[in-house]
């Protein structure tokens, strides 16, 4: 269609808004005229990947999203699950990657603030925070600076706002240099009768703005977050907002108080795309319109244009639709906390977002034109894996140098040509910052505030928080139930096989929850990927989603929402792109029925027997299958391909990660949860990076107790036995007094047609020493102290920080 050209330069404006010419043509078609500059800005943010998933939406539709416990699935500010006994949990994960890359402290801090608002907007009081972080190697001081800034930012916001940061994960890889990942997840316990939704209701109802003032900070953050990072990105620092956790603290209290009054009809926090997004989402979801008078919006500075008002991402702001006549009482709840509150508009019958300034219409766009039928970027999916991936998949374990009882001599990597015993190999793995203790990080987070943290960071495979409300009924009684939460992503596996990697992320999250004794309930996911506009990029995204979907379906943990962060890549000075490892972070929540049965990862008592659940250690050419019968060849569910061992010791990130046996995962996890509930298990820790030897070392370091393991004799590579990853494996310790009951449980499982592979490998010992033997030959014999030293000092020593030992 032909429309009169606008008064601004269209190509320049489209570039600034990260829109295409086709988008512009579509906007003109929808409006029947050219958009003015402010309106174009509104489309720019609403049609960004960050707000409308224009690249990933078709892929996200494959996720299972319903289940008996799911009360709110994708589409609202957060997902909500039913915990039974009248308790409901809201939870969500969100990324703040690009802001953290250019301004790590405020970028990370406001990421925390934003995810908290998603939770309390629903009527839930935030009870826990977790985060998933990725950085480049700490040998580069820029990465150290980014990590220090991000951790300090998370600490600043979470500690001040009074929500405990109870867990998370941190991993390192060169692909994240310059493009760190900062994903924050929050959990909240519903305090209101009704779940507060965002769809506007009631023509003529007042629209009330509460919280902080609107300033010029965070201009265009959503568009900024949807483009790749370059050196020039540092000039985009104004696109990073500044957070005020003290205001957010008051906002939490005032909002929950306001919601409980019943005067609030709908609520939407102002996150990405600020006023634009909140108005259009509320209008579109309610099938109504909103009129917004900018002259009434509390402003931080004078002379702001409509464009600036509409696109500001100033923090700690919310928009409500309120019952008529209740505005004054409602606003007083906010001014009591020193917050702004103002009636800024009203709900319209007509489905339009109309913005007024100085009495004139500054922008007027049909809400559905902004928020519904947003454009989709279609991409062709490669019919077979990219050539570089296929090359990786041709790698075989047999390509590695021989592994003998004495050790191995790596042919490449940092240890090339050095003859290493298995003890030094284990120490090198414990010194890998991705595997090592994250105490330097989590001691900066207040993980105890609210007085409900049952399992602190580092204490178990998942964080556990008691379900005791902060106020009202039950707040002064000792609750016996809890919620467990975890974030996971084996990014190296995803990089080598996105489908298996995606499945593994879900499987590991569920396994971690099961290890503390929690029943996995539901997932929130954060898809951190490079550009989807390359064939490989889109293939990674599509296959990872396929893997996530399959695993979430199999493990019955529906996806209730999440976040997509694309274009995570940096332009090198030579113009080529460095994409990150595709990183679909899975945040999973679980229910702990009885807090007295929560299990940590540390051994408990000398004399307890150590069992391996999951794919058994192989004995040679024949390996035991799931049903206990012998199958030919090595078990495809475990291996060194894509392992920490292969990377750290041999300098290679290659191979095809092992097959994910979701049926085995489900069986093993269910068995473990029942065994924990029955009091048969003293500790549980899943095998992850570094495999069996690292898991055993971690359980020893955490407890101060030693362990002796005896590996089955056979012709299998020793490094495969010690360090292979995969196979739904869990290391548990069983008190001698429970051995008979444990054996009986295994027998019963087999008899009922759900056999659980289990091997008794050894015993917990009082002597602080880890020893591993095979057929009487010693493979590894290490004092705990040097192991602890490697594990605890790996991160501090690389960044020149002093962290006192734990013992």
């Amino acid at each position: 269609m032909v429309v009169a050209p606008p008064e601004y330069s269209v190509p320049e404006a489209l570039k600034k808004e990260n829109l295409r010419q086709a988008d512009y043509d579509e906007i003109c078609r929808r409006l029947g005229r050219a958009p003015n500059r402010a309106e174009l800005g509104m489309f720019g943010v609403m049609w960004s990947e960050h707000c409308c998933y224009r690249n990933s939406r078709p892929l996200l539709q494959g996720f299972p999203t319903t289940g008996p416990r799911i009360l709110v699935g994708p589409g609202e500010n957060a997902g909500v699950v039913d915990l039974g006994e009248g308790q409901r949990l809201a939870f969500k994960i969100e990324s703040h990657n690009h802001p953290s890359a250019v301004e790590p402290f405020q970028g990370a801090a406001t990421g925390v603030g934003g995810i908290l608002r998603d939770i309390f907007t629903m009527g839930a009081r935030p009870i826990a925070l977790l985060n998933a972080l990725r950085f480049g190697p700490l040998e580069d001081e820029r990465n150290v600076g980014l990590m220090e800034g991000v951790v300090a930012g998370i600490a600043h916001y979470g500690n001040c706002v009074g929500v405990p940061t109870v867990g998370g994960e941190v991993a390192f890889d060169p692909s994240y240099s310059g493009n760190p990942l900062v994903n924050a997840m929050a959990l909240g316990l519903m305090e209101t009768e009704e779940i507060v939704c965002s769809g506007a209701e009631g023509v003529g109802h007042p629209v009330v703005y509460v919280g902080s003032t609107t300033g010029r900070d965070g201009m265009g953050g959503a568009s900024f977050a949807s483009a790749e990072l370059t050196d020039a990105s540092l000039d985009d620092r104004p696109a990073v907002q500044v957070g005020d956790p003290f205001l957010e603290k008051g906002l939490i209290e005032a909002c929950l108080d306001a919601f409980k009054s019943g005067d609030v009809v709908a609520a939407q926090d102002m996150g990405a795309a600020g006023l634009t997004c909140s108005c259009s989402e509320m209008a579109a979801k309610g099938g109504l319109g909103i009129e917004l008078d900018l002259d009434k919006v509390p402003a931080r500075e004078a002379g702001m244009t409509p464009y600036e008002f509409l696109l500001s991402e100033s923090q700690e702001r919310m928009l409500f639709v309120v019952k008529p006549g209740c505005e004054q009482a409602l606003m007083e709840r906010f001014t009591r906390w020193g917050l702004q509150a103002a009636v800024v508009g009203r709900v319209l019958q007509e489905n339009v977002v109309r913005v007024l300034q100085n009495g004139a219409v500054a922008a007027e766009v049909p809400a559905s034109a902004l928020a519904d039928d947003t454009p989709i970027n279609h991409h062709d999916l490669l019919s077979e894996p990219p050539a570089e991936i296929q090359a990786h998949w041709r790698w075989r374990e047999a390509d590695l140098p021989a592994a003998t009882a004495a050790g191995i001599t790596p042919a490449g990597g940092a240890f090339a040509g050095q003859s290493l015993g298995w003890g030094p190999v284990l120490r090198a793995l414990l010194d890998d910052p991705t595997i090592a203790s994250k105490r330097w990080v989590f001691r900066q987070y207040d993980h105890q505030v609210q007085a409900n943290t049952v399992l602190p960071p580092g204490g178990g495979d998942a964080a556990v928080v008691r379900l005791r409300p902060q106020l009202g009924q039950g707040s002064l009684e000792a609750a016996t139930r809890g919620v467990a939460a975890v974030v996971d992503c084996p990014n190296r596996w995803v990089a080598l096989d996105p489908e298996r990697g995606g499945m593994a992320a879900v499987a590991e999250a569920a396994r971690n929850l099961s290890c503390v004794g929690a029943e996995p309930l539901a997932v929130t996911d954060n898809l951190n990927f490079p550009s989807p506009e390359t064939p490989t990029g889109y293939w990674q995204l599509a296959l990872a989603c396929r893997g996530l979907s399959a695993a979430c379906s199999a493990l019955e943990t529906p996806v209730t929402g999440g976040n997509v962060s694309l274009y995570n890549e940096t332009r090198r000075p030579d113009g080529s792109m460095q994409p990150i490892h595709p990183t679909p972070v899975v945040g999973m929540v679980g229910l702990v029925h009885d807090l007295s049965q929560v299990r940590g990862l540390a051994w408990r008592e000398a004399g307890d027997l150590i069992w391996l659940l999951g794919a058994p250690l192989e004995t040679g050419a024949a390996a035991a299958g799931v049903d206990g019968t012998a199958t030919a060849g090595p078990d495809p569910r475990v291996g060194l391909a894509g392992s920490s061992y292969l990377e750290r010791l041999h300098g290679q990130v290659t191979g095809r990660p092992p097959e994910i046996d979701l049926a085995l995962e489900k069986t093993v996890q269910a068995f473990l949860r029942q065994a924990i509930a029955d009091g048969l298990v003293a500790s549980a820790h899943d095998l992850s990076d570094g495999g069996l030897a690292v898991a055993a070392a971690e359980a020893s370091i955490a407890s101060g107790l030693g362990a002796h393991l005896e590996l089955p004799a056979g012709a299998v590579r020793l490094d495969r036995l010690l360090f292979a990853e995969g196979g739904a494996r869990i290391l548990v310790s069983v008190p001698p007094a429970q051995t008979a009951a444990w054996q009986q449980a295994l027998d019963q499982a087999a008899a009922s047609g759900r056999p659980v592979p289990a091997q008794c490998l050894g015993v917990v010992e009082a002597d602080p020493e880890l020893s591993i033997t095979q057929a009487g030959t010693s493979l590894l014999r290490e004092d705990l102290e040097p192991l602890r030293q490697a594990f605890e000092q790996a991160i501090p020593r690389r960044i020149g920080a002093a962290v006192p030992p734990t013992h």
Partner: protein, 217 residues
């Protein structure tokens, strides 16, 4: 016996103190909003942890002007028992109820972890449940807990037996390993560690119980 718990807009351990005192130990509590002035019927007052008014200026620097704290100061001068935990300790020093100041931790990081403390109860009413020289574990959770005072004044505090809590392993650079101080009369106690986080066996140790239980007489 009712324990008053001061609530600033940025307090975040107020409900934790209530849980420890009332939920775990059965001591009645009443929240005191910072704009109030009514302390009637209270046997003691706690200024809990948090960030009073955001603490962007200096921890506790604005809080000392709160209407409520003027009453708390008078309450303390009358011999009423006042406990300042973490931010509360910072506020007590700003109010002048305790000497010295608390500055950024030596390594500048916020630290949250268990701390071993040595108790020298002396005349401090809050610590009479502890033996002289006893070691206890309370968690710390602060970014600005480095106690500072000039050497002469520190010596005077030592001589008076007012340094009632000391770190076994100094986490933050405090002079004299000071973790907690009492006033000369012994009715006011300020400490950086969190005794209320050591009252519930479900979430940690219980070394802090005796501190709050001292209110039960």
């Amino acid at each position: 016996m009712t324990l008053g718990v001061v609530v600033f807009p940025g307090s975040n351990c107020d409900r934790d103190v209530q849980w420890a005192a009332q939920g775990c130990l059965g001591i009645a509590t009443r929240f005191l909003w910072h704009e109030e002035r009514d302390l009637s019927g209270l046997g003691a007052v706690v200024i809990p942890g948090g960030f009073s008014y955001g603490d962007y200026l200096r921890c506790g620097a604005i809080a000392r002007f709160a209407p409520l704290l003027q009453e708390v100061a008078a309450f303390a001068e009358r011999g009423g028992r006042v406990l300042g935990i973490c931010n509360g300790f910072q506020v007590l020093t700003e109010m002048g109820l305790l000497p010295g100041a608390l500055t950024r931790n030596e390594k500048l990081h916020f630290l949250c972890e268990p701390a071993r403390l040595r108790v020298e109860p002396g005349a401090c009413a809050w610590l009479q449940g502890y033996a002289s020289g006893e070691e206890v574990t309370f968690p710390i959770a602060h970014g600005e807990g480095r106690y500072q005072i000039d050497p002469d004044q520190l010596q005077a505090l030592e001589d008076n037996g007012q340094v009632v809590l000391r770190y076994s392993r100094n986490p933050n650079g405090s002079v004299g390993d000071v973790a907690g101080l009492t006033n000369a009369a012994g009715n006011v106690l300020g400490l950086m560690p969190h005794p209320e986080r050591a009252c519930d066996p479900a979430t940690g140790g219980i070394d802090g119980r005796r501190l709050l239980a001292s209110l039960l007489g």
